[in-house]
Amino acid sequence: MAQMNMIQALNSAMDIALGRDPSVVLLGEDIGYFGGVFRVTDGLQRKYGQHRVLDTPIAEGGIIGAAIGMGVNGLRPVAEIQFADYIYPAYDQIVSELARLRYRSAGAYSAPVTIRTPCGGGIRGGQTHSQSPEAIFAHVCGIKLVMPSNPYDAKGLLIAAIEDDDPVLFLEPKRLYNGPFDGDPAKPAVPWSTHPKGEVPEGHYTVPIGKAEIVRPGNDITIVSYGTMVHVAQAAAASLGLDAEVIDVRSFVPLDVDTLVASVKKTGRCLIAHEATRFGGFGAELLATIQERCFWELEAPIERVCGFDTPYPHAFEWEYFPGQARVATALARVMEVR
């Protein structure tokens, strides 16, 4: 076991994948010689060469188009989109092509492409470096979709994604790259070495895609969350002294419905928290799924705490961010209902 932050864990996952399987290649903007703007691919081109770790033109659509062709020709491409906010130029290649190739060709062709991209706010990135686009991919059939909330899961899920024969979109909550973040920007930064999930095996292991994790068992209420908000939610529940069951969704597609439903059936209450804008966000699907299955057990309406339905504004980052106070207020409200 080693201490790793999320950047190191992701780097280690790719290092292992490149080392084990000669068909794994990486491609993306600034990922090669430079090692990526967040340094997630640092050192990999030096180790595996320019023909397996490719710097690319700044053309997200071209990157994914080319990655699909590479995947069809027997490679396992891992493409980086520099920020999730810049994935839209590749939207057509992802949803019309990558996600549908196996289906439309009845399994004759498929492309095991993994797309990694940093998402989420909290780094003063303004409206074009802070987005959380999971919902617009979750609705698309044919692509798996995951987001880790800690280094251990990051490495295990990324190896699983690369080894998966289906395409996987892998969202990296960049606010967590260097340490867990409980939503309070005034507090000094905490490194991953202070967190149990900062203990990461050096070798190969996988975290299965499609399984949520109960990060804190509890009985009062179920908090369903993912990415950065997992940590915020835990802190908010703790601040109220609640015995909350906190679930890290981890995998949007496939979604681990059973874990969610079992928890809400037990607690009878549920709060959903995410950073993405509320309207039409993934929280709506979570809420709908739980309502459909736990209607009779619910003691209070399920609530959502989300980003406001505006772009992520540079000057109002911490008013926008659904921080501890907002989560705690909602938790208290849901708990109040008798």
Binding site: G61, G65, G69, Y103, R104, Y109, D166
Partner: protein, 411 residues
């Protein structure tokens, strides 16, 4: 008083009721264009994107440096493929008109484009077609029945009922799955070619796009990535003058040839008589050899004419003169190859008629067999459980649930 608009709008040479006008098509005499070394620097061969590479002259004689000097039996095989394509297209149009299939797209008048290219390539080369290169399937040995079952979305449909007619593929034939989304195959072909290079193989990828579709972003991405990594790829633009009702001038063809985009990205661009089997063959051979030698990709513009409707949903008499196809200055590719073989003394009108009859009978027989596997409306049907498969490699829980719900609904 508003000021009059100063916007330029591309000129469309002739509309219904007007006389066909092809004065805009710049031609070179057959044999006139030099054939450079396959390793030539793109900057030294820009003329290829302006002139028109042609081999068959008006007397059906093969002339000039691009003559590929093919054996007669190769030419006869080519003619057979071209006639089969045409016969197949005609019959399938009829089945659509009879309501047996939901949709069809013919390639009439542009058969040489696909057939010559496929014959000039190796079987190990990978093909990424648009929807109008059915000729590739015939060259790569597809069974007629298999294609028809796809058109019928029946129990033997290679696509398991999921795609519109003509969206074929072939794994043994190394033909990629056709997408309904225009142009997407272009950068995919480049990625395939990059992978071939990374793996140290000398296979080439070839891909086709309509001149109208070349307006899409994917076209640019393909040219750019092909140029940056010198990918072993052949990027074919099939300029058949029309994109549904839209004249090629609206895709940029008014100001400059499509071939000229190649040099803009530092890649050779070849403007080729697309109705001249020998010219298409020769140009493809040149580009493939260049790619295999590691000199990178090429862009080939095939100048041709979409003689039929865009699809069975289209009626071209609404937007272009009825007599256009006959007056197309580059003639008909089948007639020209046939004329060449006759001129060589290796073919006759009688043989040709017999060939048409033979192939038509094959098509009819295949159709009879294909329909026994079901049609959209009658006969055996695909298992509806298939609807849920191949979304992912394995069925995730929510699709199992949805499959069960449908089973219950239908039981």
């Amino acid at each position: 008083m508003p000021r009059p608009s100063r916007l330029h709008v591309p000129r469309v040479p002739a509309r219904p009721g007007e006389a066909p006008d092809f004065s805009y098509v710049s031609l070179s005499p057959a044999g006139a264009v030099a054939r450079p070394d396959v390793n030539a620097a793109p900057a030294d061969i820009e003329n290829l994107s302006v002139e028109l590479i042609r081999v068959l002259d008006d007397e059906h004689v093969a002339v000039g440096p691009w003559n590929p000097h093919l054996d007669v039996d190769v030419l006869q095989v080519a003619l057979r493929h071209m006639v089969l394509t045409r016969v197949f297209d005609d019959r399938m149009l009829r089945t659509q008109r009879q309501g047996k299939i939901s949709f069809y797209m013919k390639s009439t008048g542009e058969e040489a484009v696909a057939i010559a290219a496929a014959m000039a390539l190796r079987p190990s080369d990978m093909l990424f077609p648009a929807y109008r290169q059915q000729g590739l399937q015939f060259v790569r040995g597809a069974r007629l029945v298999d294609l028809m079952c796809q058109l019928l979305s029946n129990t033997r449909d290679m696509c398991k009922g999921r795609q519109l007619p003509v969206m074929y593929h072939s794994v043994p034939g190394r033909i990629f799955s056709i997408s309904g989304n225009l142009a997407t195959q272009f950068p995919q072909a480049v990625g395939w070619a990059m992978a071939a290079a990374i793996k140290g193989e000398d296979s080439v990828a070839a891909t086709w796009i309509g001149e109208g579709s070349s307006a899409e972003a994917d076209f640019h991405h393909a040219l750019l990535f092909a140029s940056v990594y010198k990918a072993p790829v052949i990027l074919n633009v099939v300029n058949n003058q029309w994109a549904i009702s839209t004249f090629q001038g609206y895709a940029g063809g008014e100001q400059r040839s499509f071939a000229a985009r190649g040099p803009g990205y530092g890649m050779p661009g070849l403007r080729v008589d697309g109705n001249d089997f020998l010219a298409v063959y020769a140009a493809t051979e040149w580009a493939a050899e260049r790619a295999r030698k590691g000199a990178g990709g090429s862009l080939i513009e095939l100048v041709t004419y979409r003689a039929s409707a865009h699809s069975t949903s289209d009626d071209p008499s609404r937007y272009r003169p009825k007599e256009d196809a006959e007056r197309w200055p580059l003639g008909d590719p089948v007639e020209r190859l046939k004329g060449h073989l006759i001129r060589l003394g290796e073919w006759s009108e009688e043989q040709h008629a017999a060939l048409v009859g033979e192939l038509d009978a094959q098509v009819v027989a295949a159709w009879q067999e294909a329909t026994t596997y079901g049609t959209l409306t009658d006969g055996p049907r695909l298992d509806r459980d298939l609807m849920f498969e191949d979304v992912f490699k394995e069925l995730p829980p929510h699709l199992v649930e949805q499959r069960e719900a449908l089973r219950r609904e239908r039981s």
